[in-house]
Structure formats: C-alpha cells, structure tokens
Symmetry: C3
Subunit: 272 residues, 3 copies
C-alpha cells in the first residue's frame, strides 16, 4: 500500500467536488473533512465549469438522480477530464431504474473514470447492461456470489471499461484494467445498516485519487481506510449504541486515522 496517502491529503487538503445525492451529502462532506480534504458540493449545470477549475477530484454519485443533475454530471465530468483530475463514479441503484442505467451508460461513454465504486449488484448491472430487479442495497443472491466470482467480475469490468473497479461487500474486491487486483478484508457488517457508507467510501476514494500515484493505490487505501474505520467504530459501540451512533463513530475514526495505523490494521491480498 502506498505509504503516505492520508498524510498527503491532510497536507494538500484537495478540493473534492461532489455531485451527489441529497440523502448522504452531509456525511460525504463531513467524512471528507475528517480525512483532511476540502469538500465542495454543487450540482447546478452552469457552476460546473467554475468548480472544475478549482477541484482536485470529482465524484459523480447517481443517488437521488434528476435530469438536472445528470446534465451537470456530464459537464463536470468532461471539464475534469480536460483538466486531468480524477473522476470517480458511484452508480447508486443503477439497476433500479432506466434513468439511472441510461445516465450511467452515457456517462461511461462521455467521461473517462479513474474508478467506479459500487456494491456487487451495481457492478453486475454495469457488466450486464440489464436492469436488475433490486434497489440500492446489494441483492442477497449477489452478495452470496462474492469471492472468485466478484474477482472475475471486477477484472472483466475494469478491463472493458478501462477503469479501476471497486466492489464493496463483506470482502471488498478492487481491480485495475491491467488485471492487478486486491481483496480487502477489513470492514463490518454494521456498515450496511448506515445509509451512505458506500457514498462515503466513494468520496474518500476520490480524495485519495487526488493525491495517490494511481487509482488502484487510491482504491486500496480508501477501501482499507473505510474498513479499518468501520472496525474501530464497531469496537467503540456500547450496549445501547445502534446504527446512528455507529455512523458518528465511523466518521470520528476516519478523523483520527493515520497512514501508520492504517498500515498496521489493513488486511488485504494482492492478486497479480
């Protein structure tokens, strides 16, 4: 794992521009601040060129998508490509509606992504180009198929779309177009009981991509950081704490996370 990504974020305070959903927008901003980055949330079309000039990374998250924000995503994505800053896609619930699938597909055609992070159902949808019948959570049958199948899926989609693919789940699977891949074993099942842990992971991935050597290194640090924070937050739970306190503890853990602690607690395998 690249040794200094968290420290570099804290030092450079990269501006991460997020076009994201209204459900978890506050958590995404706070977890970026926790990591030392500087979030900007803006989604009006005519602001996109201006935001593109000051941002160091861009997140396109299609939760609570609208025609208005879909149009903004295209403008922002192209502006980011023109400047050469990394763009990360979070295809929230892409299998749930035609609007989301078509938006994701047209973004994939017009924008070059450094990475795409989603659950296995979302990444499968991008692979199949077929609308699934599930919502924003991973389908149970998809989650069971993790492991070998997820690795093959991530590699296939990474190669086909020429971008890093990060599949979040009980085990996170990350793959680069080259075929290099990681499995990250950090994390906790409770993360699925807090809305937006996926969105937050994507935001952190973008902050990492703003400073990392390459997108796969960014995805690895982000997946490990979120997973380690999820484990630390779990250990902090008292008897009466539930998913709301867990959400705060998760962000708090990112606030205190260092490269050194991450290096000690990260558990991952490299597949070459």
């Amino acid at each position: 794992m690249q040794k200094n990504i968290l420290k570099t974020i804290q030092k450079q305070k990269p501006i991460v521009h997020c076009i994201t959903n209204s459900v978890t927008i506050n958590d995404c901003a706070n977890i970026l601040l926790a990591a030392g980055a500087s979030p900007i949330m803006a989604d009006e079309a005519e602001e996109m060129e201006d935001m593109g000039k000051i941002a160091s990374a861009l997140v396109l998250n299609i939760g609570t998508l609208s025609r208005r924000t879909a149009a903004s995503m295209h403008i922002a994505g192209k502006a980011a490509n023109a400047r050469g800053i990394p763009v990360v896609l979070d295809p929230v619930g892409v299998g749930a509606t035609t609007l989301r699938l078509e938006t994701a597909e047209s973004l994939l055609e017009s924008v070059r992504f450094a990475a795409i992070r989603g659950n296995i159902s979302e990444i499968k949808t991008l692979d199949d180009r077929v609308r699934s019948s599930h919502g924003v959570d991973a389908a149970a049958e998809d989650a069971l198929g993790a492991g070998e199948e997820a690795l093959a899926l991530a590699r296939r989609v990474a190669k086909r779309l020429n971008t890093v693919i990060a599949i979040s789940g009980a085990v996170d699977i990350l793959a680069a177009p080259s075929g290099a891949a990681y499995a990250v074993h950090n994390g906790d099942a409770l993360m699925a009981r807090v809305t937006g842990t996926g969105c937050m992971s994507t935001a952190i991935l973008a902050a990492c991509a703003a400073v990392a050597e390459n997108p796969l290194a960014a995805a690895l640090t982000a997946a490990c950081a979120m997973g380690v924070a999820g484990e630390q937050a779990k250990r902090r739970l008292t008897e009466l704490d539930g998913n709301a306190s867990y959400r705060s503890y998760l962000i708090d853990a990112v606030f205190h996370l260092t490269d050194e602690a991450l290096d000690q607690e990260a558990r991952y395998e490299l597949f070459e």
Copy 2:
C-alpha cells in the same frame, strides 16, 4: 397489538420508497435501516414507475415540496395503488402554503392512502381545507385541544378520507375509517426538539404497513415504537446531551427494539 411486525420487517426487509424532504431525508433512511427495512429515496418523475415495481411501501412527504416532486408524487402514488402496496402521506406544513395544500388535496383525490400521519394542525387543515397561519410545528392552541377533540377529529377525517389517520402529539391518536381508534401514551416532549421525528414516524409507519395485517395495526406499532424509542432515548441522556445526541439515541433505540420490548413498554388504549 399485532405481535410480530418488527420481526417481520427485519426478516422481509421491505423496500420503502420515500419521496421526502431534503431536511430529514438522511434520518428517514437511517431509521428505516435501524428497523431492518430497506430505504430507497428517489424523486425524479421518470424513475417513479421503476421504483414502484420494486417497492413494498411508499411515503409521500410534502416538506420542501417543489412542483417537480409534487408531479413525481402523483405518478408514484398511482403506480403504488396499481400494485396494491400501501401509500402513506405526511402532510408537512400543509397549512403553511397554497402549494402544499393544493398538492395534498390533489393527491387525496388521485391516490388511495393507507394512512396519513401528521400533527394536529396538519390534520385539522386537511379537515378544514382552510389554510392555517402556522408553520410546520403544531400551533400551540391546537396542541392544547388534544384529547377528546383529537379523537373526534381523527375519526371524522379517517371516515371522510377513507384512510387511517395518525395524529402525533403528547398523546398520539390513531383512527380507522371504521371508527376503531387508539390513544398512544408513549413518547417524550423532547421529540419535538429534533427535526424530522414526524417524518421518521411516517417512514416507520410505511415499513410497518408493508408487512402488517392492516394499516391501523401498522399505525399502532409505529406510534408505539417511536414513542417507546423516544422514552428509551430520554433515559439515556446525560447532563450535556441535547437534541443532537437525542436524535442519535432515538434511532439507536429503534435499532435495538424488539416486538417483545415493544409489547412490554407500549401504553395505549383502544376506543371501539
């Protein structure tokens, strides 16, 4: 009280589609996850048919209403009716503006609701069809009029609109079109100092309605669950805790709530 609603939610994980306000959308998602349901927040018109195919219940909440979301509510409501899944209305601040009142009225004409949950001012507005002069909180004079008057109001509106009416307040009043009614004595005054406790109650009511025998049973479980959670959260407060910590404790309490605990702590009367 129906004995197994919370357990059934945890088992079936019903997808609850919410078209809701931007103020409390995150809390609504997290309290649904706390209860074991699967929230989907989406409000763009062209997604509504697709969301309707996968949802098990629908929430229409008119806080931060816009023309765009009002149109989506009509489409989603009709799609939900066509599939026979329960639709719950939260007429947030319906007396405050013409847009909200007219939207509520046109929704009542075109959509069949399983239940409507609001504070007494909001339900009175639906009864009077006259714009009141207050905001999103219950008017002081309305709150004082609870008790006999609220029971009569709930029964009258339930019968006229042919839907379950849930009036939240110091005592919650629930009434079915048949005249069957409950008073729920759980809850805490501090709940009114957290934005969105009403919205969260409505979301929980929808999750309950997805699995309950009938909407009145769902409303009873939801009112008792929120009230008991509010009491448990109150007991957890330390000297420095205020409404922000209380908000987290409230969601945490729902996370841990079981049908057995609910049965023990619920305090309600049946009026037949």
Copy 3:
C-alpha cells in the same frame, strides 16, 4: 451584550425561514430547534409569499445554489423586506462560481439585508466583486490576514452595503454601517472541520435578529453563542471523538446555552 436574546428566542419561538443548501439543511434546522426557534425550510418560488407571511426572519444561503432556488431567494427577500422582518445572507463559496457571485450581487441590489455572515474570503469577494480562486473554505492567505485587516474590511463592506457584516474566523469580526464593531474571541479550530458551522451560525444570527434590538446585537450574540458552544463541545471530546461527535456536541451545547452562561463565557471587544 443585550442580556435576554436567548431567553426571548425560547419564549417567542420565532419562525426562521431558511432557503439553504442541501448539505447542512438538517443541522441548521436542529440548531434552530436547539436554540428554541422554529425552523421552516422551503425553497419553491410559489411558496415564498406564503412563508413570508408567517416567518419572523429569513436566511438566504447560497450553498448548492440553483437557478430555481436563486429565483426563490429574490421573491422571499422582497416579501421579507415588505414585512420588515430581518433577512440574513450567507454567501457560501461566493468567489467560487459566476452563478454564486451574480446571484449574491443581484440579491444585494434587490433585497435589504440586516446582516451578512461569511468567512473572510467570502466577504472579500463581496468587497472586490472579483471572483477568487478558492472554494467554500477560507483561503489560507485570507485567514492569515485577519485582525486589523479584517476589521477594516468589515467596516468598509458594512458601510458600503449598509448592513451588518459578520466575518467568521479564528477571531470573529462584526461591524455595523455606523462603524461600531466587535471582535469575538470565542470558538475553536475544530469548528472548521465540521461542514455547516458557518451555515448554523447564520441560522442562529437570523433567530437572534428576529428578537434583538438591532442586527449588530444579534450578530454579537450569535457569534458568542456559536463560539461558546464550540468551546463547550471541545471540552466534552473524549479521545476517540472526532468531527462527527463534535458536531452533535456543538448542537447539544446550544440546546443548553443560557443568556447567563453566555454572558459569563463570552470574550469580545468593542471598537467604536
């Protein structure tokens, strides 16, 4: 400092109408409830006249601005002026995009503001009428220029725009068109690591302005209240707490704050 502002808010429960960004809208509502005010969040153009009839203060916050909400701000601002209730502007990231700068400028032409609260970069942008190159956080070089320069800036802009100017920073600087000014030394650096502490300050300023003798008194109480709350929240932090817990503690502190405690803990200077 005016002695009874917090108590008066708790007693009168002024309705504070906020047209604000989707990132921190929930925190703004909860901190207003913490202070005893009654928040209404609404941003659809056709609701603005109605909301104007019931509100006691208005907040215009240009974070996550859109053409739709910019139009609503003009209507709401004029309606508030017509009724004589105070209007407070928060020029979030005004230097970042042309849309924000042009919206702020046109609002300044058509709406009379009781106060404008922003960081030093934002207030400088209003002074310079030149787009800066930074995002929503204060530029590092601007933050270093606090002190004498900030005082002169605040006085100059206050006079030119004929409104109270509140510059948030390590030291808050407040100035009235008359030249009367304050420096407030309360607060904590951690506040900059929570998204929306500025937005929350603006919301509290508006609640204070609804009941205070004049806008400068409101700005002083608001700046001291937020600063004292920030210090109290800091003292409450345990080893594992980060910015997420700090956010809750901050709102909790406002919940418990009294005029007496504020009077004891506030540290400010008057410049006449």
